[in-house]
Amino acid sequence: MLTRGSLIYIGQRLVLIVFTVLVVSSIVFLGIHRLPGDALFNEHLHGTQYALLLHHYGLDRPLWDQYTSFLSGLLLHGDLGESLVNRGVPITPLVLRELTVSVEIGLFALIFTIGLGMLLGVVAAIRQNTWVDYLLTTTSVIGYSMPSFVVATFLLLVFAVWLDNLTQGNFYFQIGWTGRYGTIGEIWLPAFALGFPYASIVARLTRASMLEVIRQDYIRTARAKGLRETVIMVRHALRNALIPVITILGPLVIGIITGGVIIENIFGIPGLGKEFANSILNRDYNIVIGVFTMYAAMIGVANLGVDLAYVVIDPRIRY
């Protein structure tokens, strides 16, 4: 499977990702830099101090100059510049650090989403039209109708407030994030809140997909061969049922990234989302550009991963 053709394809996609990232960050860069005001403006500095700062950040140069040095810095050194609000803080290492945090919680949410969603979807399909099925289908609509912060609120109410009161402060969920990587105890609640709406979507899709697959002729053939029911469900049905699920994996990842912005803000998780929201509120344009660039790269890689997953699951697809 790791043929020369597929390696070429991966190579092409990586180049495309770099290209897209550059295009996107350029658009954001140029868009933002047309603005008259910026973070420095907010601090109401005047005179030489202001001019010095402008010079320090190169903001007094012509736009084209700024743009080319931004591009070359990014391409050649991976340098995203310096924060406007917090002087002297280089953006690239900051953003990379936050990226790992966001990826950590995102992966947790993703695995939970897909795992639980698929499991429930399969169960609902096998037990179609029983109470299990009805329960799951209705719950799933509720599930993806609730914004992630509502889910988070509900979970917090139960595990942070109510449990706290119940156990007199001995046993409850603590919002917080210590150290570089969150522990399971810190991560499970936000990850659950993040993934829950998407788990519902995956469950519904898996159910619908399984229902269709189970009616297929090749399932009848498998039964006629004398295979065990479990084998039929897992080896024959599920693999085919997964195909439509992989299709939505791309938008799903994007959804998790979007939801991550909210969840990180609620739980104070030092990830890209929190940084992004803060930098927007503080008008720290350099960070906005930096985070956005990082997001674009992340999504490009995620989409590539999804397309590769496609190939693994469905042998009819070859690039």
């Binding site: 053939t221 039964r223 006629a224 004398g226 295979l227 024959h236 085919n240 042998p315």
Partner: protein
Amino acid sequence: MPTPILQVKDLHTEFNTEGGVVKAVDGVSFDLYPGESLGIVGESGSGKSITALSILRLVPDPGRVVSGQVLFHNQDLLQISGEEIREIRGRDIAMIFQDPQSSLNPVLRTGFQIDEAMLAHDKATKKEAHVRTIELLRRVRIPAPETRVKDFPHQLSGGMRQRAMIAMGLANAPSILIADEPTTALDVTVQAQILELLGDLNRDLGTAIVMITHNMGVVAGLCSRVLVMYAGQIVEQGPVEQIFENPQHPYTWSLLRSIPRVDALRHERLRSIEGLAPDLLHPPAGCRFHPRCPFRIEKCFTDEPRLEEVALGQHAACWVTMERARKEMDADNLIDIRPGAGSGLRKGEITE
């Protein structure tokens, strides 16, 4: 007479639909002898496929086998446990289906799907199965089987796919192979090849074949005995040559008559069977074929005929039979074959 390896006794299979109960198989009985090639012929909706599916308990929802017996090796297949019938499927009695494109799993390799048939019944180790699969593919005349084994179904042609399915069916050397319209979805030339293959396999391996089809030509080419089904019941059965030469049931007679002949005169009209296919929700009273039968008499409207011997080894379920129709109604020379044309009973109860 050797003992039959399969005996179907008074099989009834029903479908519980929104509109009511559909009696897809309504009292079907027949025997199958070792090494025999039996054809089951009938139009769509006659119940032939459901009969086959009922034998292996593969009838899909909302259908159920409601009564009857299917005796195989002293066991009633309809009564044994789920685990036991699972073991018989694919090992002692195998079934292949109509459309090999949709009957093979598109995401699994062809060779693996054949291996599976053996592995499911612990008939071989993985390595042994793999070797045997290649042998099987060779046996069903697929060229270069060693490479074909690794192919996915979509990489094979229609004819090759069907051969692969046959290989899958024969993997465990079953005593019975049920083939449900295996050639319908294929080109005519490929059809002929597949039929030839099945005939050779039947002779060489001694596997009994049950061939389900709507095509009388297929039956003529392959089978030694045939059952003719209509509206969920067997209306005629017997040796193929006899049935073809001297059909006794008006339905069989009409079917054979409707086959266009190469040597027919140019201006001769094509002959079809008048009327519509029977509504299985509300089957006609009396003989199910009476709304369309040219030779119906009054009894046909009210009493259901049973299968009776009309010649050596040949049974038909008819109050009149073609013998009488020829004698009394000049059947062979009839131009107008509309319902009741021969017997003069043109108007009568409309079904329902």
